[in-house]
């Protein structure tokens, strides 16, 4: 599409007002843009025809109507009805003339005679317009009454338009993190004492800066899991929250045996197995139990130790655990390939093994945080989950300054 400047350049060329340099620019434009060539040709034809049109006065009828309209408005419209009547007459007349011309042109546009008639009409309109306005409008003031995209009866004012700013002109650094902080629930969360305590917690800092954790966060499976609806439901589930607060659960998580178990390749293999995913079905359960991986897992000391631990038994016996296991969302998560892939990953294992993680999950602040309503609301928030799954969040965890963003936000003054 030709720019305003290019259009103007071509018009000036037709009018013979271009400098030699500008003319050269026009020639180059025509050579490179077919649209420019078409415009130039049509304007040249029109120009030639217009030159043949003698200066003509508009018809007496038209002049009378227009003058009446003008004088009426100069006198500040003493009679609106009268004014409207005259204007309507003029408009009807103009519309009739225009409709006639346009229909005619539509049928016979290619005949030279019609072109002459049409251009003569254009010239007459231009002369009348000039008489009305008193000066030619700027090319940027041009407007039309009732144009296709506009409103009938309103002449749209023109406006010079240079290069427009676009999204490409905006360079930001992880705005999604700050946008997330516009959420009232997140604000409540990060303003809570529990959150502040967790953020101040050395274990949390170590855990967040841990290579393994970063790998987990960068993991596609993790990303998919975090953004899944089922995961949202699980983390918002009352039973899940009770489990996370459960003393036995904490003890289990903190136990060396559990860590060893989760680090066990057999365990990961079991988790990743198709049979485990379908463990609800008796068939699958049998398949799982018969699998080499499961047998290997059963034989591992860590597994046995976990199974025998009071903490595990307490966890398994708790109502919350049963409720959680029974929930559809939990089963969906367990069946989620992303979850299985994540659980089977080396990085996840390293996270689970890290003392910082253990210390963090064992801290009371962490438990208070998980049990807070604000936290649950945040976990239920789609934007929040998208953030955690995104590149920005991974960057956040990698950067010491950014890692403190949340804590700083909690203390932000402006």
């Amino acid at each position: 599409m030709l720019t305003q400047y290019q259009l103007e350049l071509i018009h000036r060329e037709i009018d013979g007002e271009n400098t030699p340099e500008a003319s050269a620019e026009v020639r180059e434009l025509i050579a490179s843009q077919p649209e420019a060539l078409t415009l130039m040709s049509s304007l040249q034809s029109l120009d030639a025809l217009l030159r043949e049109v003698p200066n003509r006065e508009p018809s007496a009828e038209a002049r009378r109507a227009i003058y009446e309209t003008m004088s009426m408005h100069v006198n500040a419209s003493p009679s609106a009805a009268h004014a409207e009547g005259i204007t309507s007459t003029v408009r009807r007349w103009a519309m009739e003339q225009w409709n006639g011309v346009s229909t005619f042109m539509g049928e016979l546009m290619l005949t030279k005679k019609v072109l002459l008639v049409a251009t003569t009409a254009v010239a007459v309109i231009a002369i009348i317009g000039n008489a009305l306005v008193g000066y030619p409008p700027s090319v940027f003031d041009a407007g039309t009454i009732g144009n296709g995209d506009g409103m009938s009866g309103v002449q749209q004012a023109g406006r010079y338009k240079g290069a427009k700013k676009t999204d490409a002109d905006v360079t930001l650094s992880s705005p999604e993190i700050q946008a997330l902080l516009q959420n009232d629930q997140i604000i409540k969360l990060i303003k809570s004492e529990a959150f502040r305590e967790v953020m101040r917690n050395e274990a949390n800092r170590v855990a967040l800066s841990d290579d393994a954790n970063r790998m987990v966060l960068a993991n596609d499976a993790n990303r998919m899991l975090l953004t899944s609806e089922a995961y949202r439901e699980v983390t918002a589930n009352e039973a899940y929250l009770r489990i996370m607060q459960n003393e036995a659960n904490r003890a289990l998580f903190a136990s060396a045996a559990f860590r060893e178990l989760t680090a066990n390749p057999a365990y990961r293999e079991v988790l990743a197995s198709e049979a485990n995913r379908k463990v609800e079905a008796a068939d699958a359960s049998r398949k799982l139990e018969a699998s080499a991986a499961y047998r290997k897992l059963e034989m591992s000391p860590a597994y046995r130790e976990v199974m025998a631990s009071a903490a595990f038994r307490n966890v398994m016996a708790s109502d919350a655990n049963r409720a959680l296991f029974a929930s559809e969302a939990f089963r969906t998560v367990m069946a989620n390939p992303a979850y299985r892939s994540l659980m089977a990953s080396e990085a996840n294992r390293n996270v689970m093994l890290s003392p910082a993680f253990r210390e963090l999950t064992a801290s009371s602040a962490f438990r208070v945080l998980l049990s807070s309503e604000a936290y649950r609301n945040v976990m239920a928030n789609a934007a929040s989950r998208e953030l955690m799954a995104g590149q920005a969040f991974r960057e956040l965890t990698r950067n010491e300054a950014l890692r403190e963003t949340f804590l700083k936000e909690a203390n932000r003054m402006f």
Binding site: V74, F140, G153, K161, L172, Q178, A179, L181, K408, F414
Partner: protein, 994 residues
């Protein structure tokens, strides 16, 4: 530049900002710890919160582009890095610039305001940079002579009222800073428009409307003096007039004489004149006043032609509802219970308030004052017709508070303090309140369920997109609003509320007004139509959108402009018609006019005739390395940013205890950090004359400020204003004091501070507080503490605080000669604005008592007397308001160990001068104040009790010198009498320099 942005704006607002920053809204140390700093080769960006870090690449990128553009245009590379302070203190985006003491830009990151499309702009960081750097380049660029003075004073000198010679020093180092606001804003707005691709006030429909209206109504267009003396002070546009007139005049010059000649006036090249008006004559060959008159004639013809275009078709008749012009107005709501409209108004002379206007009679009833009204939209207003509860916002320019007013009881209640929410809309279906919250540069659509004590995020728009002018359909199913994009494009959009609440904020574009913004669209009561305004034809007309047919139609052909429609019946609607003095509520028919013609824009004419402006585009291709910026970011360091700003000679006066007077000469050094939170001013001078004893000839004074702390020390303190008297602050001896001041409340015009100070004095001859009162000991230790409350307000165009209240209570303990002399004082004031515009009455009271030691000891007593003004002064002009003043008596003539004082004061409306003077010096206003006081001292001691009364008046004449310094010539007369003293009179003459 935005409606309020400018260097002058910065002069007024930056002190406020720095007070907010310096005094601390809560804990200053925590605040300081938040500040971040990042440097590039050309920029030193300091921002007030790590949360703003996401904007750093955008700021750096747009700054770099604007810098390169201006460097090329002005053929100048500024010295050193430019400083920029980025913050989030304002509700709407704004910025300011100053070249002193270093080049400095302040930028608020909030989205721009969109009122009346008075300042159209694309992405705000880029727009602000384009505008603010124009200020820097037009004021900072020096000639060789300017550079020599900068070298001499070791920097650019900031005018300082304590040292009035700095006016001259500043003028010698940065002469173009001493120009009127319209001159500076005019060129900045003009350049910004083209740099924004044509989006700006140089092609502004609001600007065309303002001048079209002046011509239509045959109202005088301000001349070059009248603009500054009256147009920027009492017109309802106040500061906006600087932009309106400045942009228009600069555009006219560019069109008539070409951009090269116009730009030469703003380019401080070798051979150019220091003073802007003198340089005009050099370039254009005629005086500024002459050319201004020619512009006015040209402008009249231009607007007459545009009016003729509008009158091509019948114009819309509008019936005013009232003969009262409202000034600025908020959105209006219909209150069917009283058949009236509810609207907030703000006009010169009276404080902004909510009012009701009866439709049938036009009866105007004032309902409630609004502290902290904003410029053109006053407040954000929403109405629940069922409960007749009106929702409104205060502190509208800063962090908005959300309040509710029960129209049935008149009771108001604070809903959410510092909510930062505006653009309110009420959902009748579920009684929820909706609005747009501005925080950290984002616009967030929020919903506030009943009882409106909290807000919930509905959708946060990406940076650069904004939503405003909300309304909700009567059935609560849809929300409409205007949505602006990075490009500056604005569209009328609709969103389903159910979808919004389930996380889908996809907008449906109802109508694209192309280059012109849709404004204030609202639903009809049956929900079938939506009414709003747009400059679609270049004139703001009312449009009606048929929801069912999805069709937009015009409803008016206005000569000036119609805004903020409020549909009443199927036949008619209320609109606000623009007039020279503000908006007039009027009725128009709900009917489609015959036709509406477009007007022409001066800016378009320039784009066509002076095509070079089309190439005025900042360079592209700036690559910002975000990682490098992140790595380069560090905490702001006061020490690293602390440096010498300037050094210059001073002259001071000193009077010893025997009345011998010496004139001293010396130097003053000014150090400060780059956010102004830490500073050190050191002055040393010496009196070479023999009048003073040798140990009183050296004078030293230093003040160190760091956030809330102030430490000062002095030796034989001298002062410039002691050269004149009669009030003198010079004191023999040495002193050291430390003070801590902190705000407990800082909310718009209301504040509550406490101050704690400890000081030690040695070698004393007179009491530090009271001149000519001999000290009873030459050593003194003092502790002081006070609690001070202030809530002072003024109406648009005021010359002084006009209403509000203050109170303070203070404790002072003087320890000298092994005796402790505690004193307790309290004072308060209350001001009322009278029905007469800008006229108010103040009542003041004060009381004090000593609490131990000898009541006759000068360290235990309080002293009274005198007007308090110096012949030449820099302090407030109305010193008679101070507790220690008592005009009619001599300075410190009477005293008491206990006292009670009362005063009543009446302030007359000011007499304005439209044209008395020349651009460099002119009169602005004159006013008279009358007062009467009563004082009783030692009221607890029958024998010593004394009572005094006085009455007097003071006339003040405000004049502006060198375009920006507000000087005041004051004359006062008072007579005092008492039972134990003969009647006495006093005349006061004073000239306040700045």
């Amino acid at each position: 530049m935005r409606t309020l942005s400018s260097h002058s704006f910065l002069r007024r607002r930056v002190p406020t900002l720095l007070v907010a920053v310096t005094c601390g809204i809560t804990a200053p140390i925590r605040l300081a710890a938040q500040f971040q700093e990042v440097e590039t080769p050309t920029l030193r960006l300091i921002y007030t919160s790590p949360g703003q870090s996401y904007l750093v690449p955008q700021v750096v990128s747009t700054f770099d582009k604007a810098l390169r553009f201006h460097e090329q245009l002005f053929d100048y590379v500024p010295h050193g890095r430019m400083n920029m302070l980025m913050h989030d203190l304002w509700h709407y985006g704004n910025a300011g610039a100053r070249p002193l003491p270093e080049n400095h830009v302040t930028i608020g990151i909030a989205p721009y305001g969109h009122d009346y499309e008075s300042a159209p702009a694309p992405e705000r960081m880029g727009s602000s940079m384009n505008h603010e750097l124009a200020h820097i380049f037009t004021t900072d660029k020096p000639t060789a002579a300017d550079r020599r003075f900068r070298s001499l004073f070791l920097g650019k000198v900031t005018p300082n009222a304590e040292v009035p010679l700095t006016i001259a020093y500043g003028y010698l180092t940065v002469p173009r800073w001493y120009s009127p606001r319209w001159y500076l804003e005019g060129i900045a707005t003009y350049l910004e428009t083209w740099m924004n691709g044509g989006l700006g006030r140089a092609i502004g429909p609001y600007d065309e409307m303002v001048f079209r209206t002046l011509v239509r109504d045959s109202v005088q267009i301000y001349d070059v003096v009248g603009l500054e003396s009256e147009g920027t002070t009492i017109d309802f546009q106040v500061g906006s007039n600087s932009y309106l007139y400045g942009t228009r005049f600069v555009s006219y010059l560019a069109l008539r004489y070409g951009n090269d000649k116009m730009l030469a006036w703003f380019n401080r090249t070798e051979g150019s004149k220091r003073y802007f008006a003198s340089d005009f004559k050099r370039i254009f060959g005629r005086s500024l006043e002459d050319e201004w008159s020619r512009w006015i004639e040209w402008e009249k013809q231009w607007q007459r032609d545009n009016l003729a275009l509008i009158r091509t078709h019948p114009t819309t008749a509008a019936r005013p509802l009232t003969n009262r012009v409202l000034g600025s107005v908020s959105r209006a709501w219909y209150d069917s219970a009283n058949a009236s409209i509810l609207v907030a108004v703000r006009h010169p002379g009276q404080e902004a308030h909510i009012a009701s206007i009866e439709i049938a009679t036009g009866k105007f009833t004032r309902i409630l004052d609004i502290p902290g009204a904003s410029g053109l939209s006053v407040t954000s207003l929403a109405f629940d017709p069922a409960s007749r509860e009106l929702f409104y916002t205060t502190n509208n320019a800063d962090w908005r508070n959300l309040l509710a007013l029960d129209l049935k009881t008149g009771h108001t209640r604070m809903l959410i303090h510092d909510s930062r929410i505006g653009d309110l809309a009420f959902n009748r279906a579920d009684r929820s309140l909706w609005g747009v919250r501005h925080d950290n540069g984002f616009s967030t659509l929020v919903r506030m369920p009943y009882p409106y004590k909290e807000w919930n995020q509905v959708n946060t728009l990406p940076y650069g997109r904004d939503l405003f002018n909300l309304d909700i359909s009567p059935d609560g199913s849809a929300l409409i609003g205007s949505m602006s994009e990075v490009s500056g494009d604005q569209k009328l959009v609709r969103m389903k509320t159910s979808a919004l609440l389930s996380g889908d904020a996809t907008p449906e574009i109802l109508f694209d007004f192309s280059d012109w913004a849709p404004s204030n669209f609202v639903y009809s009561s049956d929900g079938r139509f939506i009414y709003g305004s747009s400059y679609y034809s270049g004139v703001s007309n009312i449009y009606r959108y048929d929801v069912e047919r999805a069709r937009m139609q015009p409803l008016s052909n206005a000569e000036t402009g119609f805004f903020k429609p409020l549909p009443l019946t199927a036949d008619s609607l209320v609109v606000f018609a623009y007039s020279r003095q503000g908006f007039v509520p009027s009725m128009i028919a709900n009917a489609v006019p015959d036709s509406v013609s477009a007007i022409r824009f001066l800016g378009n004419e320039i784009a066509e005739q002076r095509k070079e402006v089309q190439g005025w585009v900042p360079p592209s291709g700036t690559n910002v390395d975000r990682n490098a910026l992140t790595a380069a970011t560090e905490k702001y360091s006061t020490v690293r940013n602390f440096r010498l700003n300037s050094m210059y000679p001073v002259v001071e006066g000193y009077q010893d205890v025997d009345g011998n007077f010496g004139v001293s000469g010396g130097m003053r050094l000014n150090f400060a950090d780059r956010v102004g939170a830490t500073s050190l001013d050191v002055t040393g001078s010496y009196s070479p004359g023999q009048e003073l004893s040798e140990n009183e000839r050296l004078h030293l004074h230093g003040v160190f400020r760091h956030w809330n702390w102030t430490v000062s020390g002095a030796l034989n303190r001298a002062d410039f204003y002691d050269l004149f008297g009669p009030t003198r602050v010079s004191r023999k001896g040495y002193s050291l004091s430390a003070q801590y001041q902190k705000s407990l409340l800082f909310d718009g015009p209301t504040s509550l501070y406490y101050t704690i100070r400890a000081a030690g004095y040695g070698g004393l001859a007179t009491v530090p507080e009271f001149q000519d009162v001999a000290a009873s000991d030459d050593k003194l230790a003092t502790i002081y503490g006070d609690l001070s409350y202030k809530s002072l307000r003024k109406s648009l165009g005021a010359i002084d605080d006009e209403l509000g209240s203050t109170w303070a209570t203070a404790f002072r303990g003087n320890y000298a000669g092994e005796k402790f002399r505690p004193r307790l004082t309290a004072e308060g004031s209350k001001g009322f604005l009278l029905p007469l515009d800008h006229s108010s009455v103040w009542l003041r009271g004060a009381a004090g008592t000593f609490m131990g030691g000898s009541r006759n000891d000068p360290f235990a007593r309080s002293y009274f007397g005198g007007f308090g003004n110096n012949w030449v002064d820099y302090r407030g002009i109305k010193q008679f308001r101070n507790t220690e003043s008592f005009p009619g008596l001599e300075i410190n003539e009477v005293s008491g160990a206990t006292y009670g004082k009362a005063q009543v004061e009446w302030m007359s409306p000011p007499l304005r001068f439209r044209k008395v003077g020349i651009p460099s010096a002119y009169l602005r206003w004159a006013s008279v104040t009358a007062f009467a006081s009563g004082l009783t001292t030692d009221f607890d001691n029958g024998d010593a009790r004394r009572s005094y009364v006085n009455a007097g008046a003071q006339a003040d004449l405000r004049l502006i010198t060198i375009s920006q310094f507000e000087s005041t010539f004051s004359v006062g007369f008072a007579t005092a009498a008492g039972k134990h003293i003969p009647p006495s009179s006093a005349i006061m003459i004073s000239f306040k320099l700045m």
